[in-house]
Each structure stands twice: as structure tokens, then as C-alpha cells.
Symmetry: C2
Subunit: 199 residues, 2 copies
């Protein structure tokens, strides 16, 4: 059976869980505790030399890592991708935006506040992340005030990827009430058939 190495509280891992649930793909979930160093063991580094989760192991023993590459793989030829070349490119645009301009702000602010309990030596970094994180949220909100999902009328892996850390952004100090189009979009995703919660 397909194996997924991850931690469901990590947005990067949860997004994989959410897509597999939407697609009803059977898998075994193997919990990896990064705070205990479980992603840095010799054994784990054979699965992913970069020492990161999520990592998936296919039944033939091959591995794939990078959450958004995993989403792209499983979404191919499903309605979580697009049948149109430009549509696929816009989905990819949002996926790269997520990893470069969104996750490093929202997820890291959440990590500092929610996991580390806001240590004083990371307070300045946390404050800076509020600015860049709110910029990312505003960009998402602007798009969602025009279209119901990030790339048009249909949910896609762009939405799943951005939803993962956005819907728990309050745990990183972000006020989602400032972004009404994001709140409405979160509700649309939460009420989609096959939805599974992070917790």
C-alpha cells in the first residue's frame, strides 16, 4: 500500500492527506516527529536525503518528496488539476507562490507561536513575518474576490495547497476576519465532499 511519512499538524503534510481523502486513495500514514529528530535519522534520510516531510513511498519502493510535487503527481488527470495548459500553469504559479511567498511566512509564524510558544529571541522575526504573511493573504483574498477558487470555478490543488496553512493562520497571529473572501473560500473547501480536518 502507498505509504505517507508525515505529521498531520504540518500544513505541508496535511495538504497531501486532504488530496488523498478527496480522491479516496487508500494509504498508510506513518507519523514522523520532526521535533524529536525523526526526519534526520539515517533510516529516514534514505527515503528523503533532504530530511523533510511529507515523503511518500510507492508500492514499488520509489520515493517522492516536496508536498506540492506530491499534489501535482496525484492530481494529474483528475479534476483537481486542469485540462487546459494555461490552467495547469496558473495552478503551478500558485503552488510556487505558496512555497516561496506564503509558507515561509504563515507556517513559520505559526511554528514560532504555536509550537515554540513565542520565545523572546524570535519575536523580531515573528513581527517581520506578520508583514510578509499579511501581504500573501491579501493577494489570495484579492484573487478570491474575483473567482470562487484560485484558478477559476473549480477547486484544484492550488486551493488545497494554500488552504493548508491559511485555515490555521490564526495560530500564527493572523486575523482571517480581515479577509472575507478567504473566509468564504475556507467554508467552501470545508464543506466539500471528502473533506478531512487537520486535527
Amino acid at each position: 500500500m502507498l505509504k505517507v511519512y508525515g505529521d498531520i499538524q504540518s500544513g505541508n503534510c496535511y495538504k497531501v492527506k486532504l488530496l488523498l481523502s478527496f480522491l479516496d486513495i487508500e494509504h498508510e500514514w506513518l507519523h514522523v516527529n520532526i521535533l524529536d529528530g525523526e526526519s534526520q535519522t539515517h533510516e529516514f534520510l534514505k527515503k528523503n536525503p533532504n530530511g523533510k516531510i511529507p515523503t511518500v513511498e510507492f508500492t514499488d519502493g520509489r520515493f517522492l518528496s516536496e508536498s506540492n510535487a506530491i499534489l501535482t503527481y496525484f492530481a494529474e488527470d483528475t479534476h483537481y488539476s486542469s485540462s487546459d495548459k494555461f490552467g495547469r500553469a496558473k495552478i503551478a504559479q500558485w503552488l510556487f507562490f505558496e512555497q516561496y511567498s506564503h509558507e515561509p511566512c504563515i507556517a513559520v509564524a505559526r511554528f514560532i507561536q504555536f509550537y515554540l510558544g513565542m520565545p523572546i529571541e524570535r519575536k523580531a522575526e515573528y513581527e517581520a513575518l506578520q508583514i510578509s504573511g499579511n501581504k500573501a493573504l491579501a493577494l489570495i483574498n484579492d484573487q478570491l474576490s474575483v473567482t470562487p477558487y484560485l484558478v477559476g470555478e473549480q477547486i484544484s490543488i492550488a486551493d488545497i495547497a494554500l488552504y493548508a496553512y491559511t485555515h490555521v493562520a490564526h495560530q500564527g497571529g493572523f486575523e482571517l476576519a480581515l479577509y472575507p473572501s478567504i473566509e468564504a473560500w475556507c467554508l467552501r473547501i470545508k464543506t466539500s465532499p471528502g473533506y478531512i480536518a487537520m486535527a
Copy 2:
């Protein structure tokens, strides 16, 4: 004609130029000076609300941003992608690795040293980037000691994306001589038909 807004000295922009050159796709290059704020003007933000280069404008007036999404778009159904689903996923894995674990180290160290002239207040950050950047280079070198290109026997957009900042990593203080498989790979890319230099 296809328009590309970018700065050829930026690896993220250069990688687009390199792929378009390899594929012999005619385009107009419009220089954007980010240090002069040209990516933050009202006019530019209409093209890419995230205010980043590269951004491409198609002849029908549609826009696409995020360098690796642009690469993915133009590589589709060419031999710079893969005809195999798992091959495409591994290419995507390297593209996301590049934006999350490579570019934020190598490109930022280069920016601090090469563009800003190593201001004292960014020295600590620069030193930290040497550690994470060398980790990224070691991972690339390990793969290239097994296969001639990052995903198997053929050059792909994974190589083009990683090559862009790797081949100028010395401008960020990295010693490429420590990574012989990277040096051999750089030479293979530089001597590929259609290659165009950054400068």
C-alpha cells in the same frame, strides 16, 4: 510577440531565458530593475500583483509568473519535461526544492555579497546561508554523482532551474570546486546546443 519582464542577472529570470533559447522560442525581453523599484509600480503590479520577476505576457494579454511555473508551461510536451508521470513528478520535486531549499540560500547569499557588497548588518545572515546553501549543493552533487542530469539521462527543466543560481554560486561565496559532479554537470549544460550565457 511573447514578452518576458525580467533582469538577466537574476537566476530566476535567466532560467526562463535559457529554456526559451534551448527551445528557440522568439520573445521580447523587457528589462525590469528591481533595485530601482520597477517591479513595484502600479503598472507592473497589474501584470503581477506579487511584484516579482520574471513575469511573462502572452500575445493574448494573459500573464504568468513564478519562474518554475513558467518553465513548466513551456517545457510541457518537449524533451525538457518527461513523458513519464513519475519522471514529471521528480522534476517537480527538484523545482520545489529549488525554490524552498536552494534559491533562498544561494541567491540571497549572492545578493548580499554581489549586489549589496556585504553590508556588516547582514553578515550573520550571510554566514547562516553558507551552511544551508552548502547543504543544498551537497544534495545536488549527490544526485549528479549517480545520474548525469537531476532526473536521469536527459537534461530537463529541473537542471535548468538548479543551474541558474548554482553556476554563479561563487558570487555568493560558495566553492563549487568542492562539488565535482556539479562542475561536470555545469560543463554539460554550458556545451548544450542553444545554450546562452547569463551575462
